[in-house]
Symmetry: C2
Subunit: 194 residues, 2 copies
Amino acid sequence: MNFLEERIVNDGIVKSAEVLLVDSFLNHQMDIALLERIGAELHRRFADKPITKVLTIETSGIAVAYSVARAFGVPLVFARKSRNVNLDGDAYVAEIESYPTRKLTQIIVAKKYLSETDRVLIIDDIMANGCALQGLIALVESADATVEGLGVAIEKAFQEGGHRIRNLGYRLEALATIEAMDPETGAITFRTQE
Amino acid sequence: MNFLEERIVNDGIVKSAEVLLVDSFLNHQMDIALLERIGAELHRRFADKPITKVLTIETSGIAVAYSVARAFGVPLVFARKSRNVNLDGDAYVAEIESYPTRKLTQIIVAKKYLSETDRVLIIDDIMANGCALQGLIALVESADATVEGLGVAIEKAFQEGGHRIRNLGYRLEALATIEAMDPETGAITFRTQE
């Protein structure tokens, strides 16, 4: 097991076969030393790519994306959900279905922060059905910029997001890929990484 | 002028006497090197305090708070606005009035992430009327933890937040304190810092 899988086993809480709580270290209280290691490892995996910008979506993706952007030495842009907007000028807009509520939400990025010369690494903390990441891909493509890849801390492989995004031809890296969770024993099965 | 005041003068956009856009470097696109300097400077100003935790509120406070928490080597906790909640167990709740909509919003932190032994530094990116910071103070006090101080990147001193919080006896540090803005000339007047 790598450092993130070990942390998930030690401090994650399996609430059901689909719900894993990682709020003690990743998305409510944040262990900064852990986030720095996640950033360093995602940087290592995409070190061959000429990344010019890291893109994420509010809220809990911001800390992971900060750490990755710091490792690459590039700006971080986070897409906003539309209710919060105080942007100057035009924006790219995509629509995503929120998990688990199935509510449609618009996500937006100001046009001036994505240009056709940008080579973008898309980052989030947890991927389930992949809708947020697909919305971010749509924003990058609206700008005629290049998606160099996508990186997440945790992939829930029993939901369809990873499969869907890799089938579209994108390179997607996850530091911990969960195949299954057993709420009775609390056991978590990870996909073996090379 | 310090580094942040210079950056505001160079890249901030005065939209009106009350609205300053800093979305090119602070709260939509983020300049990570600048955020690292903000974190280092807030760390320097509170280096005499035995901080155990940094507390902020989603969304745009997270990056500044990350940088501060990294400098102190302590965990970061961010309060959530109540609609997003997937927390395990009980939570502390406070109510804040959002600027500029005047809508009431509940903010919450899981009880297990604030305890009475915590000595908390509260961080946000921009302070206007101070309602978000006052809500965060209320959360810390609900936990019988100690507020060691509050730090923001930008204080709009022509709104009442800073006055109100300092009058309550809290130490509040702002790296750039704006006294006035002139939308016709774009001029920004800063309070002199020692």
